[in-house]
Amino acid sequence: MTIKIFNMKCIRILLFIIICLLPASSCDDWLELIPPDGLVRDEYWKSKEDIEATLMGAYQSFAGLNGNLFLFGEMRADMIESDQNTPNAQRSIMLGNIYPDNSMTDWSEFYTVINYCNNVLKYAPEIIKFDQTFTEYQMRGFEAEAVFLRSLAYFYLVRIFKEVPLVLEPSEQDDVQFYLPKSADTTILRVISEDLNKVKLYVTDDYGSPEENMGRATKGAVLSLLADISLWNFDYQECIDYINEIEEIGYLLMPGGKWFEVFYPGNSLEGIFEFQFDQGLGQNNALWQKTYYTNRVIQASKTALDLLTPETSSEIIRGPGSLRSYDGMIWKFCGAASDGVTYRPSSERNSCNWVVYRYADVLLMKAEALSQLGRFDEALTVINQIRSRVLMNAAEIPYTTEAFEDAIMEERATELAFEGKRWFDLLRLGRRNNYSRKSKLIEIIIEKVPSTQKLVLASKLTDPFGWYLPIQENELERNSNLVQNPYYADYSTD
């Protein structure tokens, strides 16, 4: 009996040891835990819906940036002024006190968009190999959209910072090279124009709903961006060619009486690309809060008032549609009609679209390009086309490039007031013909600066690098391969 028990024991021991050692074979399963919230990469990138969902993330992130797009396009220019509740970072930039620790110099949101687009561009060609429902045509369409958004982001970055890292691969894994140096602005612009030219054939023109036709990349949007880049590069003929293509698509200028419908309710006949917002879908546009008069964040400047008050400028449509002359409130994003009285309900204010490109903008680009080529007649026709639809008299401009340049600048300021365009227009002016007119740009920048600092700043700003924002200090600390914009290298925060 003793022996028997001992045997049983031995069996039990063996059993235990076996049980203990068994798991070694299946332990990899036991140790492979997947987070219950969300999906991991192995489970993602399986179908065309995944591509589309990330692409939509890129649109939404870019749309969420619109408050900054407004500021980058207006902050240093002459159409807006700070008010008592302006955040310090924005106020400092307006006053010309720009240091690398300014929070407005954070570029991370642009790169978030770029990263999403890079993901789409990497995985769209992969998924088509095993998703049977994914057609080549759809894939090219998604790629075109991603290229458009990425190029638009880089075009903004180049105009804000001049030189930035050019990231074209998704940041998926920790072995990706994160520490990229800056690329020259010319390189970036060349890369994005090439990309855009490649995809412009594939971009869809009809997504099935007016919101998507305005809110997603279309042929018109891609061509507008290309035209804008060409103009920035002073390739006037190229710009005109792109715009001729746009004209063939069939956009129309809104008639004068309906001019305000460009902004409310938006998605007008004139719209080419507008970031879509809809409070009902939880997609809120917070921009109106900056310009709403009780919030006292941003107000129209004296220049803007002079330009747009109907009493001084006879702008009876664009004037009251853009601002409210008695208190300088920017009206485009808050009003329901251009009467300065009827507010949109707050839900409608949150649903206000952000217009990136519209037909009037593109036509004025064309006028600019034509005038630079000396084709003054054609340019004047375009300018007067814009003016006549808002019941303004035809412009009479001496046939000189400079007179046309000034007239078009003013026309753009009036037509596109507070649409995040002005600063970039001024930069184009300052850079043109080897900086021959940079004093005009500097004059405008120092307008808002306290009188004691005007002279100092004016002399500093003869260095065109000062027209761009510095790389944020925080980013320089993270990436030692970056070199600060030389204008700011001496002006560290100490």
Binding site: L15, L31, L39, Q60, L180, E475, E477, D494
Partner: protein
């Protein structure tokens, strides 16, 4: 392994299979009498054994001394036993009635504590005396009278290399424990093991606490100090290695009491503690404050309109509200009181031994509205199924309820402002209670939406927030473990352990609208938060131990272990705002939702351990460990970490040629070398997670985007440690232990490592990179100066030295950050080879006496002239020209500008030496014991002074500013700069606020008196002790702030110590009474 449940099931299978088939029984009757007196004995154990000495059945005698036992086997052996009598074993041989005479033991039993149990490590099975690695065991029996609230407190100053600092003096805030310097970034807290079970750590959810507040992870083990039998500190990798991946930052092994054979013992202890705060930094009163504010305005702006709050204008509507003299710090402070009651019951017999205890702890904190109520129970049972099988159960439950004040989150940072910080800032001319314009109290707290200092949310009324707000944490912690020990053969046993732990935490915050000044629409009005955290952990451990019998000269033992660990963490948070009333405190009450969130994290860990111990001639000792761990927090390529360790000891006192040295007793030389690993703190950091964003769609199309970067290269952080130690015992009275060690951490884990934002992300969730080195030595001396029958005096002293430095930074790492300088800012820089905690700043040289004195000088002290021969004005960054009364800083590079170039090294916050000393003295029944703790050679930034001596904002300032510059030409030693509103440079980060933190502190002093045995017997009690303990009564320090205990925390190489107005640990006076039956 699919799950640990398999093992549980198997354990029970084994248990069931042990039961033998029942046989037909025989009824045995009889009585038991005292052999001498013939008295019938009540309660005698009558037990049936089989041939294997396995207990089959048993009973006890009734009040008449009779018993009836249903005997299963007619040939069984019956044993009769009772305390105080010799046990008798009688073979039954078919009898059905058995009357027994028991004879008394021939000697009188004194109360004795049996410590014969092999004192071994629960895992590696190595006897204490043969340990070759670095570990220190502290017996807690002598500390039962100390007022210590927790195990951490009881350890302070006692063990070399162990740095224990309390986070704060608030109840339940816990301590930071660091063993031999910080070897990891962030939270480097040692693993705490109670009775062989690693304790679960509550991970805070991290939606807003990317790096959890230290306080949140402070109180790890809710264990009653009276339950603790001993605490062992494992310091080197070789000793910690057996505990696997969780033990890389050191291990504290806590052993609780268990029952022992004998009569049931009942113990009671009552402790009453009075806590008194050390005196606060004296602050300006209302009038002094207004005077200073007027100067600030005048100096900054010249002629100005005095703001009406400080204008003493009786027509001002809030005149009475702004002319008070409020001592805010005093108003939020009070005396604390702790009432602690402890009961325990222990004893046991042949088969079962038991220990049960109950502890209630009721702590009223020294800040208003802070308290801790805690109930802890513990049951430890041991059951001998047979001589071969023993079954142990440990069960403990604790419930704690911590009350605190709402803490305001500082915009854009992870910092919080507590009411004590606010009490130091709040304008003292403001009243606590609101007066109307006639000067009558309205009965409301004075909480203006916009006060003189600023918004009512930023400058809240600390008394109102203290009394009205809520920030409670209720925690339930259940821990139980089952251990089965099966002695398969004399040389082989098998141990199976299953442990389950549950920690549930519920946090409630509420901020009623009347506690802060804000307009009705503010979302912080009636802000409600409810947060639930649930941690569950199941550990199974199977061990096979070999102790082969060898010849006398060779001793060999070994062990194989397999461990599984499943950790599950769930959290949910609900934040509501704008609640309807101050009574609706539940965010689920349909108030507008401010934020909602929940999450789950699960981790699986496998561990394998092979251990081999060999001893030759009791002199040469070798221990080898090999541990392998795999964790689900790593990807499959780097999942397994291999951590070998080896230790050797030579007991040279046993060598024959040493035996002449009679003064040398038991001494040995030790060397150990080993590795340990650490895994990331969160479960899913390695995955690229795709999820939706807010808003979750664009137009009508859904959005899914990547939220984090996949970490394909994430691997174990590896710690390699070498330790050389010597233990010398002289005359059997003096013990000396000295050790040197070197501890290197490679592949350091960085949590939320910053990467360029051009990647589209801001951080990598985890990153391996860099190396951290800790090197140091430790010395511990203890001696019985007097050891006589009635008098003993024992003294001890310990000192340790640790140098912490980075030896490598990660690739692309920037070692200079926060280079912006300004008021209160210290630029930070980390250098390879330099200790962590270094900081930089300006050299402060006092105050410029007058405008004319302000000159820039060259190296020779001559006035600096520009090219035109005019003196160069001394400026701050070229923008502000210094004037009389401004702070004077050293212009290191003599360029006439105070800027980043003038920043110099100011010191580091790592103590050079830490340690303690103490002793105890006993004479007859009176004993006196004391323990002191010291930290030497470190500097800290006195942030309280920085905030209360700058005089450049509207915050209240300390009394020190009364001695400030007021008029041109004023030049007195120790004078502070002038008051100047928003001065750009008067309060730069400089050595003005850097102070030596060195201190020597009395941890405790206890006087105890035990009632003599004979008197105890008269009162029919076993023992009665009374003790008085004083804690932290004396602190000797140069430090001018309230408390120099600054707990270290290197989340990154740029850490330095700052004193941030935490509640200082109070002075405590404790009376304790212990009674035993």
């Amino acid at each position: 392994m699919k799950s640990g449940l398999k093992i549980v099931a198997l354990t029970f299978l084994v248990l069931i299979s042990i039961d033998l088939c029942a046989q037909d029984g025989v009824v045995l009757r009889g009585s038991v009498q005292d052999a001498e007196t013939g008295e019938l004995i009540i309660g005698v154990n009558v037990i049936e054994y089989d041939q294997d000495k396995r207990i089959i059945t048993g009973t006890i005698t009734d009040p008449n001394g009779n018993y009836v036992l249903n005997v299963t086997n007619p040939d069984a052996i019956i044993m009769f036993s009772f305390i105080g009598y010799k046990a008798q074993e009688i073979a039954l041989e078919g009898q059905t009635s058995l009357n027994v005479l028991l004879s008394a033991e021939s000697y009188e039993l004194e109360e004795i504590t049996v410590t014969a149990e092999a004192n071994t490590d629960p895992l590696s099975n190595v006897a204490q005396r043969d340990v070759a690695s670095s570990r220190v065991k502290i017996d807690m029996v002598d500390s039962k009278h100390m007022g210590a609230v927790s195990a951490e407190e009881a350890l302070a100053g006692k063990v070399t290399g162990l740095d224990i600092m309390s986070f704060s003096g608030d109840p339940g805030s816990g301590s930071s424990i660091v063993i031999r310097g910080l070897g990891s970034l962030g939270n480097a807290r040692p693993l705490i093991v109670v009775d062989g079970i690693p304790q679960s750590v509550v991970i805070s959810q991290d939606f807003d606490l990317g790096s959890a507040d230290q306080e949140d992870i402070g109180d790890l083990v809710n264990i009653a100090p009276q339950d603790i039998k001993s605490i062992e500190v494992l310091k080197d990798a070789a000793s910690g290695a057996v505990w696997g991946s969780k033990g890389a930052d050191g291990v504290l092994l806590i052993e609780t009491f268990r029952g022992s054979r004998g009569k049931t013992k009942f113990d009671y202890q009552g402790k009453y503690t009075w806590n008194k705060q050390p005196p606060p930094v004296p602050m300006l009163n209302g009038n002094e404050y207004i005077m200073m504010q007027l100067e600030e305005w005048h100096n900054a702006k010249g002629i100005y309109d005095v703001p009406q709050e400080i204008a003493f204008d009786p027509d001002y509507i809030d005149f009475y509200n702004y002319t008070a003299n409020t001592d805010w710090v005093d108003a939020i402070s009070r005396d604390g009181f702790i009432n602690e009651q402890f009961f325990k019951l222990s004893g046991g017999g042949e088969k079962t031994r038991y220990y049960a205890s109950l502890n209630t702890h009721n702590n009223k904190g020294t800040t208003i509205n802070t308290s801790l109520k805690r109930v802890t129970t513990r049951v430890n049972l041991d059951y001998n199924v047979s001589r071969k099988i023993r079954f142990s159960v440990n069960f403990s439950y604790s419930n704690s309820n911590k009350e605190d004040n709402y803490q305001f989150r500082v915009e854009g940072t992870k910092q919080r402002t507590n009411i004590r910080e606010m009490a130091y800032q709040k304008a003292p001319n403001m009243s606590i209670w609101e007066y109307d314009f006639k000067g009558d109290l309205t009965g409301e707290y004075f909480n203006p939406v916009e006060s003189y200092q600023g918004s009512g949310l930023q400058y809240f009324n600390p008394v109102a927030v203290g009394n009205l707000s809520q920030n409670d944490v209720i925690e339930n912690r259940i821990s139980n473990s089952f251990t089965l020990t099966y002695n398969i053969a004399p040389w082989l046993n098998f141990i199976q352990m299953v442990s389950m732990q549950y920690v549930g935490q519920k946090k409630n915050e509420f901020l009623p609208y009347n506690a802060v000044g804000s307009d009705w629409l503010n979302e912080l009005n009636n802000f409600q938060l409810e947060q639930n955290n649930t941690n569950t952990e199941i550990i199974t451990r199977s061990q096979l131990r070999f102790i082969p019998r060898m010849s006398e000269n060779h001793t060999l033992s070994g062990m194989l272990m397999f461990e599984t660990d499943q950790i599950n963490f769930e959290w949910s948070t609900l934040q509501g705002m704008s609640g309807p009333s101050t009574e609706v405190r539940d965010p689920a009450a349909n108030t507008p939702i401010k934020w909602l969130g929940s999450g789950t994290q699960e981790t699986h860990i496998l561990g394998l351990l092979v251990n081999l111990n060999y001893k030759f001639k009791d002199k040469y000792i070798t221990q080898l460990n090999f541990r392998a761990d795999a964790s689900s927090r790593f990807g499959s390529n780097n999942r397994w970490g291999m951590f070998p360790s080896a230790s050797f000891a030579w007991r040279f006192s046993e060598e024959p040629w040493m035996t002449n040295l009679t003064f040398l007793t038991e001494s040995k030389l030790r060397f150990s070398y080993g590795q340990a690993g650490k895994q990331p703190r969160r479960a899913y950091d390695r995955h690229a997670i795709f999820n939706t964003t807010n808003p979750s769609q664009y137009i009508l199309r859904p959005i899914v985007v990547p939220l984090q970067v996949q970490l394909a290269n994430l691997k174990w952080q590896t710690l390699t440690q070498a330790n050389l130690g010597i233990d010398i015992s002289l005359f059997n009275r003096i013990d000396i232990t000295a050790e040197v060690y070197s501890k290197k951490t490679e592949d350091l884990l960085w949590s939320n490592y910053k990467i360029p934002k051009s990647s589209g992300f801001t951080t990598l969730k985890q990153y391996n990179g860099g190396e951290l080195l800790n090197e140091g030595w430790e010395l511990d001396l203890s001696a019985f100066v007097i050891r006589k029958r009635e008098t003993t005096l024992w003294l001890n002293f310990n000192i340790s030295h640790n140098v912490n430095s980075f030896v490598a930074f990660p690739e692309n790492f920037n070692n200079e950050v926060d280079l912006s300088i300004g008021n209160g800012q210290f630029p930070r820089r980390a250098d390879l080879g330099e200790p962590v905690g270094s900081f930089y700043g300006f050299k402060y040289l006092g105050v410029w006496p007058s405008d004319d004195d302000v000159v820039a000088t060259n190296e020779n002290g001559e006035v600096l002239l520009d090219v035109n021969g005019n003196p160069v004005p001394l400026s701050y960054k070229g923008t502000y020209l210094f004037q009389g009364g401004d702070a004077r800083y050293a212009d290191i590079n003599h360029d006439g500008q105070i800027d980043l170039q003038d920043v110099v090294y100011l010191g580091d916050s790592n103590p050079d030496f830490i340690g303690g000393f103490g002793g105890n003295f006993r004479w007859k029944d009176i004993s006196v014991s004391t323990q002191w703790q010291y930290r030497l050679g470190y500097v800290v930034v006195n942030e309280v002074a920085l905030n209360t001596e700058g005089m450049l904002n509207k915050n209240n300032q300390s009394k020190a500013v009364l001695h400030r510059w007021r008029a041109q030409g004023q030049d007195e030693p120790g004078m502070l700069p002038r008051a100047y509103l928003n001065h750009p440079a008067n309060n730069l980060g400089s050595d003005r606020y850097v102070e030596r933190g060195d201190y020597l502190r009395m941890v405790n002093l206890t006087v105890a008196y035990g009632l003599p045995k004979n008197i105890c017997q008269k009162f029919r009690v076993r023992s009665l002790d009374v003790a008085v303990t004083m804690r932290r009564i004396f602190t000797f320090t140069y430090y001018t702030g309230q408390d120099p205990e600054i707990s270290p925390n290197i989340e990154n190489p740029f850490w330095f110590g700052t004193d941030k107005a935490k509640t200082p640990p109070p002075k405590a006076f404790t009376l304790s009474i212990a009674l035993g039956f």
